[in-house]
Symmetry: C2
Subunit: 502 residues, 2 copies
C-alpha cells in the first residue's frame, strides 16, 4: 500500500506541516497542592531572609525603589513585594516571526519546540566533534528552517570560532534573520548584544521599537548564577529585554548536589526563588511585560560531580517546575537534555525522559529541543534529526484520539468479518494516508529486508536526512531594502567594536 | 567523590534491590469519561450484535449455560451478562514466587515488570540473530534472575529449536523453576501445556492444586485472534487457568489498519470487546478468579502493512486501554515494544514511548518489559540490559519527591552561601550515596574522557554488562526432593509425548 504523505517540504523528506499542536491532556502532577505550596513558601522565605546578590547597580536601584530591602549588593524582597509583582505577569503571550504565518503562541496548552542554543562545539558523524565555524552555524540554521517541527531558533546553535567574539552575535543575528523565516532568540549576555538583537528584529520587520514592544519578537535566556546570584551581564540583558517589551526566559541552573541542594525539593526551592526574583525584576522594569519561568533542575553524578541529564530526577523536577510555574502564573520553559557522548540508545532514552518530563510537565517552551549533545557542550547535526523525530512523535501523541460514531467503527468491524482483515475496508481506504504518524527517521523494515538494504542504524539514517535537507534548502525571501538595512546595521556595529567580551 | 551503592548483587554491576515501587502519580487520561463510556458501550453493542466466534465446544457450552445467545460457533453475550460477570473480577491480586520474598502485587498503583516472552529468535551483538537453543534460553533466564528490576519471567524468552516442539515447554518450566527464584509465567497454548505449568508450580512449592488455587502462582497470556475470534488452544488454556484459580492475561492483538480498524477508537472498541469476552469467560468458569485485561493496540505502517510499535498511536492506545480496564475494574497488562532492528536510538525511543505510554496508562503488568526486539520476533541479550536500564529509570521516576522541612533545605542553602557550592554541605555528605538514581548502562563521562576510555557506545556496554552478570550468576537454592519430583514429572510427561503441536 502506498501512502501519499500529508505534507512535503520541497525536498524528499516527509514532514507534517509547520504548526503548534496544543497538549491534549492535563500535565502530570508529581507534587500535591500542599507540596507545591510548601516549596513556594520556602522560596519566599529564602528570598526574604537569605536574599540574592545582584552585581548590577541599576538592578539594585530598581529593587530599592520598588520597596525591597537592599543591603550592599544583597536584595531581600519580601513575600508581599514578590506576589504583588508576579500579579502583572501575562499568563499567555504571542511572539511574532518574520513570516507571520509562523507566529508562536506561549501559555495555556500551547508549547513551542526550539532548537539547541549555546553549545561551544559542533559535531557530525563524518567529522567528529570540533570547533564550529560560521559555515557550520549557517548550515545548522538552514536545517532549523527546513525542519517543520523546529518552531523557533534558540539563540545560536554553536560558537563560530572563526569570527571575533565581540561581533559574532551580529553575524548570528543576520544569519538567523536571512536563513530562517521563523522566530529566533537573541543572546542576552549584556546590554549591547541584547539591544543589537532587539534593533535587528525591528529592522527585519520595518518596525519601530514601539511597534516591537506592542508585538514582541525577541526572547533571551537569562541564567542566574546559582546559588543566589544575578550577575552583571545577565542583569543588563534582563533589563534591556524588559524595557523594550521583550521576553526574558529566567532560568536558574540548579544542579542538585552541585550548585543546589542534593535534595530535589531543596533544589526546587532554590530554582523557584531565583526564577521568581528574575521574573519580579522584569515586572519592576515594565509591569505586564511577558516573561518565562525557566526550570533546569537536574542532578550530578555523585561519584564524579559530572552533570547528569534526562535522569529520573530531571523528569520529576521538570514536572514539579511546571506546577510551581503554574502556581505563580508564569509561562514555563524546560529543555530536552542528555549527557550521552554518542548518538546511541542513551542519547535517545535520556532525551525521551526529558521530553516526557517537560512536555507532560506543561512546558510552554522546550529550549534545546533539537540538537543538544554532551550535556549542552555540543550541537550535533545527527542529534538535530533524532530530536526532530522525537518532537514529531510527541506532537502526534498530543493529538487526542477522535471518538465519534464513525471512529468507533462498528460498520468497519462488521465489514471485515470474523477473522478477516481491515486493509481493504472502506474506512481504511478513506483514511490510511493520514491515519498514523509518519516517521522521518524510524525504520520499520523487517529484519531480513533491513539487512538486505545495508543494516543502516539511526545515526547513518540521520546523517543522510540532514544532508538531504541541506541539499534541498531554499533561502526564504527577504525584502532587499530590509536586507540592506540589516547589513548596514551590522557593519556599523562592527565598526563600533561590537559588545564587551570577558 | 565515591559512592557506596545502595545495594549490590553478588557481581560487580550496581543495582537497586528487588522490589515493587508503586506509581506515585495519577495515570494520564487521554480520553474523557464520556469517551471511555462511548467506547465501552460500542464494545458491548459489538458483542451483542456481531458476536465472537469460539472454536472450542467447552467454551461454547459455558457461554450457553450462562445465558448467552449462541448460534453455531458464534456467541452474542448481551450487556447484562457481561456487566454481571465483570462484577466478580478482583481488582487486585497477589502472585506467589518460589522465593516468597519475591511475591508480586497486581492492581492499584502497583506494577510488575516482566521479561520478554514468546520470540522465535535470539540475538546478541557477537553472534547476530539466530535460532535459539536450550543454552540460550537458560542463559537468558539466568540474566532474568540476576537483574533485580526484572520482577517476573514472561513464559519463555525464545524457542529452543534444539528441543522437540511437543515437550519444549517442560524444559522451559524446569529451567524457570530451577534457574530463577522469581515468579514466572506459563505457556497457555492448549490444555496440556497449561496443566503442566500448573502442576509443576504446585510441585515447586510442595503444594496441592487447591493450595495453588488459594494462592495463585501461574499467569499465562491468552491472545484472541482479532478480529472477533477465540481459537481452540487459547480457549483450552484460558479454561484450565481459570478452573485452577490461576490468571489468564486476556490480550487481543489489535493492530490498527490490519486486524483492527484504522481508527484508533475503533481498534480500542474491538480490543475492549474481545478482552471483556475473555475476561467474562474466566468468571463463568470460576467466579472471582483473578484475571487481567491485556491491551496491545498499535498501528501498522500503511505503506507496507508492517506492524509498528512504540509509536505515538501505541502510547495513546496504551493509556486509553488503562482507562478502559479501570472502567470495568480489571487489572491492566501492557507491553514494552519496538520494531527497531538494531540496539540503536530507535530501539530506545520506541521503548521509551511504550513505557511512558503503558506505565502512565496505569499498567499493572509490563509484559515484554525487557529484551523485546524486531516487533517481538527476537529476544536480545543487549536489549534486555537496555530495557533493564529504562525500567530502572521509570521505577526511580515513580518515587515521589520528598517534601519536608529537611528536604526544603533552607539550612543547606544558607550553609553553601551566595555563589558557593553544595558538594561539602552537611546535607550532601549525609545523603549523596543514595540521593540519585544510579544507572547501570548510562555513561556520564565527559567527551574527552569517554574517548580516552575507548568511545564505548550503549550496545558494547550492554554486551559487557550481560556477560558480567552471567559470569557472576549463582543458581538459587532448591530443595533436592522438590527438584527430583519436578524432574520425575518432566520425564513422565515426556514419555507420554508432551503436548499437541500444530
Amino acid at each position: 500500500m502506498r501512502q501519499r504523505r500529508p505534507a512535503r517540504t520541497p525536498n524528499a523528506i516527509p514532514q507534517p506541516p509547520f504548526g503548534q499542536v496544543p497538549r491534549g491532556y492535563e500535565p502530570i502532577r508529581v507534587l500535591s497542592d500542599d507540596q507545591v505550596e510548601a516549596i513556594h513558601q520556602a522560596a519566599l522565605t529564602l528570598l526574604e531572609t537569605q536574599g540574592m546578590r545582584v552585581l548590577n547597580g541599576r538592578a539594585l536601584d530598581l529593587f530599592r525603589q520598588s520597596g525591597a530591602r537592599v543591603e550592599g549588593n544583597m536584595v531581600f524582597p519580601d513575600a508581599g513585594l514578590i506576589e504583588e509583582r508576579l500579579a502583572t505577569v501575562p499568563p499567555r503571550f504571542r511572539i511574532a516571526a518574520r513570516n507571520r504565518a509562523k507566529d508562536l503562541r506561549f501559555g495555556g496548552n500551547d508549547m513551542v519546540f526550539a532548537s539547541v542554543g549555546g553549545p561551544a562545539y559542533v559535531m557530525d558523524i563524518d567529522r567528529g566533534r570540533r570547533d564550529g565555524t560560521l559555515q557550520d552555524m549557517q548550515d545548522f540554521l538552514r536545517l532549523c528552517h527546513s525542519l517543520n517541527i523546529v518552531q523557533q531558533e534558540s539563540g545560536g546553535p554553536l560558537e563560530p570560532m572563526d569570527l571575533p567574539a565581540a561581533t559574532r552575535h551580529l553575524d548570528l543575528y543576520l544569519s538567523q534573520i536571512t536563513l530562517l523565516d521563523k522566530s529566533w532568540q537573541l543572546n542576552a549576555l549584556g546590554r549591547e548584544r541584547t539591544m543589537d538583537g532587539i534593533n535587528m528584529a525591528a529592522l527585519a520587520m520595518g518596525w519601530s521599537l514601539d511597534d516591537l514592544a506592542r508585538q514582541p519578537m525577541m526572547m533571551g535566556v537569562i541564567n542566574t548564577n546559582s546559588p543566589r546570584q544575578l550577575d552583571d551581564p545577565m542583569s543588563q540583558g534582563l533589563i534591556a529585554l524588559a524595557e523594550h517589551g521583550q521576553v526574558a526566559i529566567v532560568t536558574p541552573f540548579t544542579l542538585a548536589g552541585a550548585m543546589a541542594p542534593v535534595s530535589l525539593a531543596g533544589a526546587l526551592v532554590l530554582q523557584h526563588a531565583e526564577a521568581m526574583f528574575g521574573v519580579v525584576l522584569t515586572q519592576i522594569v515594565r509591569p505586564g511585560v511577558p516573561v518565562m519561568y525557566g526550570g533546569f533542575t537536574s542532578n550530578v553524578d555523585m561519584k564524579t560531580g559530572a552533570p547528569a541529564f534526562g535522569t529520573p530526577e530531571y523528569a520529576k523536577a521538570a514536572q514539579a517546575s511546571g506546577q510551581l510555574a503554574r502556581r505563580i502564573g508564569v509561562p514555563f520553559r524546560s529543555s530536552n537534555t542528555t549527557a550521552a557522548n554518542a548518538l546511541d540508545a542513551q542519547a535517545a532514552y535520556e532525551s525521551m525522559m526529558s521530553l516526557w518530563g517537560c512536555l507532560m510537565g506543561g512546558a510552554h517552551l522546550v529550549n534545546h529541543g533539537a540538537g543538544w549533545m554532551h550535556g549542552g557542550l555540543t550541537a550535533s547535526f545527527e542529534k538535530l534529526i533524532l530530536d526532530a523525530e522525537l518532537l514529531g512523535m510527541m506532537q502526534s501523541y498530543f493529538r487526542p484520539i477522535a471518538v465519534n460514531d464513525e471512529a468507533l467503527s462498528l460498520e468497519a468491524i462488521a465489514e471485515a468479518g470474523v477473522g478477516g482483515h481491515f486493509f481493504g475496508t472502506a474506512q481504511t481506504m478513506a483514511q490510511y494516508e493520514t491515519a498514523f504518524h509518519a516517521p522521518m527517521l524510524s525504520n520499520w523494515d523487517n529484519y531480513p529486508t533491513w539487512q538486505a538494504r545495508g543494516s543502516e542504524e539511526a545515526p547513518q539514517r540521520a546523517n543522510r536526512i540532514w544532508k538531504d535537507l541541506l541539499t534541498h534548502y531554499e533561502e526564504p525571501p527577504l525584502d532587499e531594502g530590509i536586507r540592506a538595512a540589516l547589513e548596514d546595521f551590522v557593519a556599523r556595529r562592527k565598526a563600533e567594536g561590537g559588545a564587551p567580551t570577558n
